[in-house]
């Protein structure tokens, strides 16, 4: 899923500026709820904090809230049309996709981002997420024992470790597990160490961002 974190409260307040009387905070009920950044509870808490802040600033700001199932589908965004239309500013607690989709759906309104979208990751502890995929568009996990060298080696090396890792940790940051050590260990466990000996030619990055913004079409459905 997409992992995100809330922007600093001071940044949000600065971003909102002074020129508004009504604010609508929209949460998203999917990925960013799971990563505890933009779900129903975060929306409520942020609204309460802002109310407290503006009341102590002696500003009369009206704050409304809602959390839609997914900000990346227009059908859900239709549900909040009334609130969006009657408020000066919309603060999205969705990922970057959600913010843009809201902006697309409501071209006349100012839509602001409340989150920093971080990465695609998995839950690795209560309140902890770790990056597992960069969305390169051409999956190579079959060749690397199910551990992605593109996402999990800091240098994205495809043909073995760099030589800078120590005690299983990456030289870029000792908090990070060396991706190649993980690949190696799994290969040993699976009895497939030999497979790692083969040479992997340079990756074709056209499927990634290098080909420009991507679009995906499923011809079974797409009626273009």
């Amino acid at each position: 899923m997409i992992v995100a974190e809330q922007k600093k409260i001071t940044e949000i307040i600065e971003m909102l500026g002074d020129d508004f009387e009504t604010l609508f905070i929209v949460g998203c009920g999917t990925c960013v709820t799971v990563s505890m950044a933009g779900g129903g509870r975060e929306v409520k808490a942020l609204a309460e904090l802002l109310r407290l802040y503006y009341s102590e600033q002696k500003k009369d700001i009206k704050i409304e809230t809602a959390t839609v199932k997914r900000q990346c589908d227009f059908e859900f965004l239709d549900e909040i049309e009334e609130e969006v239309e009657r408020t000066d500013l919309v603060l999205s607690l969705g990922c970057g996709v959600g913010v843009q989709h809201l902006a697309e759906r409501y071209p006349d309104r100012v839509i602001l981002p409340g989150l920093n979208t971080s990465f695609y990751g998995a839950t690795t502890g209560v309140g902890e997420w770790s990056e597992r995929c960069i969305g390169c568009g051409n999956c190579v996990l079959d060749k690397y024992m199910g551990v992605c060298p593109v996402a999990r080696c800091s240098k994205g090396l495809l043909n073995g470790p760099c030589g800078g890792s120590q005690d299983g940790k990456c030289e870029v940051n000792p908090e990070i597990d060396c991706g190649w050590e993980l690949i190696y260990n799994r290969a040993v466990r699976l009895g497939k160490l030999k497979e790692l000996a083969r040479y992997e030619p340079p990756k074709d990055w056209q499927t990634y961002r290098d080909g420009g913004p991507r679009k995906l079409v499923n011809t079974e459905y797409f009626d273009g």
Binding site: K8, I9, T10, I13, G29, T30, T33, V34, M36, G39, G40, R41, E42, K44, A45, A47, E48, L49, R51, L52, Y53, S55, E56, T67, T123, V126
Partner: protein, 451 residues
């Protein structure tokens, strides 16, 4: 339907219908006290599901010899021939648990009786007393076993197995058969069992969580008990009594299982996104996935009412039925955990000194929500004091730590927004600290944040 399933060794009971499941073969656990559903592989590798009222984890701990080549207190006595002396040693790395004093004394006594011509030495740092150790210790001394107390440094065992003991007034060099108290280590796979049963792990890889309420054989999850070597080295000291007690408690409990809390916590299946946060943070293993609704559900008999799930659900999907969440009052509010501060408050004399404070009882400090805290602080004179338990004495295991984190988070935000510092304070208290409570309430009332 079984009364109890033992994960590990079975303990016979004349009245309870019991089953033993090998820990390695356990696959899944669903349900709650009175109605656990356990999935496991039987001897033929066939997957089975059984229903049971309770579960007892009773896995023998591993034994590790402190040195290679020595005998353990749990091995058979060596042959007496060709041995100059027998050297018993306990407490070699850390102080051995009392059960090892018991084993060692018994073994030394039988050695002294069997080989009266051989001198038996017994080195120890601390003799520990359980059961009849007092009597055994006396008997052993009467039999002429030489007990020598050592400190780190005055007992050295050479690689060749020679034992030397040196104090200013005694110097011994002994060559003989060495018998040592083994170290007790968690069984392999204990962690896996904990994960399947959704139990918190304790220190050193055992299942006994450091919490005053989890005695004597309770786990955080109602109806799941932890016995003996699964709990830790000292859990062997009263194993017989604890086993008897636990089985009697199970017999009693299964007669009539009542919920521990009155209000049901309900999950709104339309809001629930199955993030499993509640499942992970519930200290009582009281939450599981409702497969029909495809949403999480709170198990009513397992729930102990701490409300951590409510305060932590990122989708705000969990609530108490008929929860009256109207927070209008402002001023100086004190939220007291019902298990610690509230008891101290009840015991405290002179409550009228604090009649201007708004005192509220909460089921656990971990139940506080940050949105509610912001809501409480509506005008600049509002302050909030949250009183919870000391670490490791929270009835809900980690409520104090949860509260501590939430309050820190809130204070950080208030600080950067210049909304005042120390407006929200979290403080730990015990039920018998009524005098401390009176003191800290008066200081806090005066605006003193150094409580």
């Amino acid at each position: 339907m079984y009364d109890v399933v033992f994960i590990g060794d079975l303990i016979e009971s004349p009245t309870l219908k019991s089953l033993k499941v090998d820990p390695e073969l356990l696959l899944r656990c669903r349900g709650e006290i009175g109605d656990f559903h356990l999935t496991y592989k039987d001897g033929d590798g066939k997957v089975r599901e059984v229903k049971t009222g309770t579960i007892v984890v009773n896995i023998t701990a591993e034994r590790e010899k402190p040195l290679p080549g020595v005998l353990s207190f749990e091995d058979d006595l060596p042959e007496g021939k060709e041995v100059d002396c027998l050297i018993f040693i306990q407490d070699y790395q850390t102080i051995s648990p009392a059960i090892m004093s018991n084993r060692g004394l018994k073994m030394a006594i039988s050695a002294a009786k069997k080989f009266p011509e051989i001198q038996v030495y017994y080195f120890y740092r601390s003799m520990r007393f359980i059961k009849d150790n007092d009597r055994l210790f006396e008997e052993a001394r009467r039999l002429g076993i030489l007990f020598l107390k050592y400190e780190k440094g005055n007992l050295v065992i050479s690689a060749a197995g020679e034992v030397s003991y040196n104090r200013e007034d005694i110097s011994l060099r002994l060559e003989g058969k060495i018998l040592m108290a083994p170290e007790i280590k968690p069984a392999e796979g204990l962690e896996r069992v904990a994960r399947i049963l959704n139990l918190e792990m304790g220190p050193a890889g055992f299942l006994q969580v450091e919490n005053v309420y989890l005695q004597s054989t309770l786990s955080g999850r109602r109806g799941v008990y932890i016995l003996g070597g699964s709990r830790g080295p000292t859990a062997y000291s009263n194993l017989v009594e604890e086993a008897e007690y636990t089985l009697n408690e199970i017999g009693f409990l299964l007669q009539d299982i009542k919920p521990l809390v009155n209000d049901r916590r309900e999950v709104d299946d339309q809001k629930c996104i199955l993030c499993y946060t509640c499942y992970r943070i519930c200290p009582h293993g009281a939450i599981e996935r409702d497969e029909e609704l495809d949403a999480m559900k709170v198990l009513n008999l397992a729930c102990q009412g701490c409300n951590a799930c409510i305060s932590h659900c990122p989708a705000s999907a969990i609530s108490i039925v008929e929860d009256n969440n109207e927070l209008i009052e402002t001023g100086l509010r004190v939220l007291m955990c019902e298990n610690s501060a509230r008891t101290a408050w009840e015991r405290m004399a002179g409550k009228d000194r604090f009649s201007d404070l708004k005192i509220e009882t909460i089921p656990c400090a971990g139940s506080i929500k940050k949105e509610d805290i912001y809501h409480y602080l509506r005008n600049s004179a509002d302050r909030l004091l949250i009183l919870g338990c000391f670490e490791e004495s929270c009835k809900h295991l980690s409520g104090d730590r949860k509260a501590y984190r939430i309050v820190n988070e809130v204070n950080e935000r208030l600080k950067v927004l210049n909304l005042g510092e120390n407006r929200v304070i979290f403080k730990r208290l015990a039920p018998r600290m009524e005098e401390d409570l009176a003191g800290l309430l008066s200081r806090w009332k005066e605006g003193n944040c150094n409580l």
